[in-house]
């Protein structure tokens, strides 16, 4: 018996030694031919124009439809129902629960405190989440505690900041509605009753009902009451 010694110089890639090399051109085309499962938001407008238009103007316009609703190819092809989350709290929390790892300027809320455990969609339409909410102050509040020093209704100014579209009498503390969460609703009347079974504020608190809202609340929707009026548990 003898032992033969064979020296094989190492090739640049082991495939040069093998007999099973694949055919890249053919295989790449096979990969490229697979069907896509996500169709993209631009396809949804063909049937869902109203939602699409609303969404396209909203804060959520950078969130594609399928990010929340799941892949749409099967829905487009067969009408299979798209995914609609069972619990809005769980789905919204994926992005909006306050986490220390998230960028500071990303809108986050403490899920335990926000909304008294109610479903997020009770106040926030996911296709236009800020609908019915007062406009957010677009600038830092540091050094700007007296809102009326800039936002004066009668004095002309070069680049006039927005004049409040509502009367300012009785609303000297602008931050009660437009301020950050901690200040909002601080001195406004609180909701003295449980919200269970009472999601439609205006059912009772209308012009003919219990404690009608003041005249300057005209045009406001139920979805915005809780934005300023905290409950007594807060």
């Amino acid at each position: 018996m003898f032992v033969g010694l064979q020296v094989v110089p190492a090739p640049a890639a082991l495939e040069e030694l093998g007999f099973h090399t694949s055919n890249p051109e053919v295989n790449a085309e096979e990969w490229a031919s697979l069907p896509a499962q996500h169709v993209g938001s631009a396809v949804c407008v063909n049937c869902h124009e109203d939602k699409y238009t609303m969404w396209g103007r909203s804060n959520h316009q950078t969130v594609s439809c399928e990010t929340c609703h799941g892949p749409g190819a099967a829905h487009v092809e067969t009408g299979a129902p798209p995914v609609v989350a069972e619990s809005s709290r769980e789905l919204c929390a994926l992005c909006h629960a306050a986490l220390v790892s998230r960028p500071g300027n990303f809108p986050q809320v403490d899920m335990e405190e926000m909304g008294n455990g109610a479903e997020c969609i009770k106040c926030h339409d996911p296709h236009e989440p800020r609908a019915g909410m007062p406009t957010q102050v677009p600038h830092e509040l540091e050094g700007r505690s007296n809102c009326q020093s800039c936002h004066r209704p009668h004095e002309p100014w070069e680049s006039t900041p927005p004049i409040p579209p509502h009367p300012v009498e009785g609303r000297e503390n602008c931050l009660e509605c437009h301020g950050p969460d901690e200040l909002r609703g601080a001195t406004l009347p609180r909701v003295p009753h449980s919200l269970e079974g009472r999601s439609e504020c205006l059912l009772c608190h209308n012009a003919e009902g219990i404690k009608p809202p003041p005249a300057d609340h005209a045009g406001r929707r139920t979805t915005s009451c809780l934005n300023c009026h905290r409950t007594e548990q807060d």
Binding site: H20, Q37, S41
Partner: protein, 266 residues
Amino acid sequence: MGAKGLLGGALAYSGVTSVMRKPARAEGVARGLLAPEPVKIDWKKYHWGFVCDDDKCIGCGRCVVACKNENNVPWEPEYNRTWVERYVIDEEGEFFVDSPNAGRDGFAADYMNVKYQALDIRKSFFVPKLCNQCDNPPCVKVCPVGATYMTDDGVVLVDHGHCIGCRYCIQACPYGARFMLPRGHESHFGVDRVIDKCNWCYHRIHRGLLPACVQACPVEARLFGDLRDPESVVSRITREKRVYTLKPDLGTDPKVFYLGFEKGVH
């Protein structure tokens, strides 16, 4: 498909779309989304690149879910073509890295955050990860049967018909990007127990679409485009901003470029 499709994809990506009045199915078919079709690729035209922005990622995990749905990746958390890691650095400078369920379920659940409650956290952020489609790929080098290869447009693919499942490439990849499809979970090519990995949604990018994870990201933390096109977002970022890659000392030449560098991210 070529330039028109890519332009359409670029327009769709920028949020400006022409509202087409065809019924949705016809549009889906016209875009090649609803039925497999042999696609002629002009792969020498593109050189794809990817950008991950650690400053923007919010750890929602929708990218991981979108990828699993798009690419028939097993739902179990052990199998991922892409995943999200969380880095937590305490006041002493100690690193804690985790990826609960690979980021598939987000990072908001209580049980994922309990362990950090007692820490004094100095900084914390998310790092999305996926195959880097290295220009000098160690996985291609070691495949004994030549089943994995790099296309001319810069994507590393695996030929499931030739893969023998030896897993040498899984060992060779320094990024943990490759995995083996479990028994019973067959790929589109009808085989299980072969190697799979992110391929930048090769079937989507050649139709002018974005990879599923890029489309799913709500905050534009993932970006994709053609590095040969000077106007694409990835070209602009790699030319104008300071980007980093993972494990550059290993010489793999990754094509996923990261923004938001932190010493110690690996």
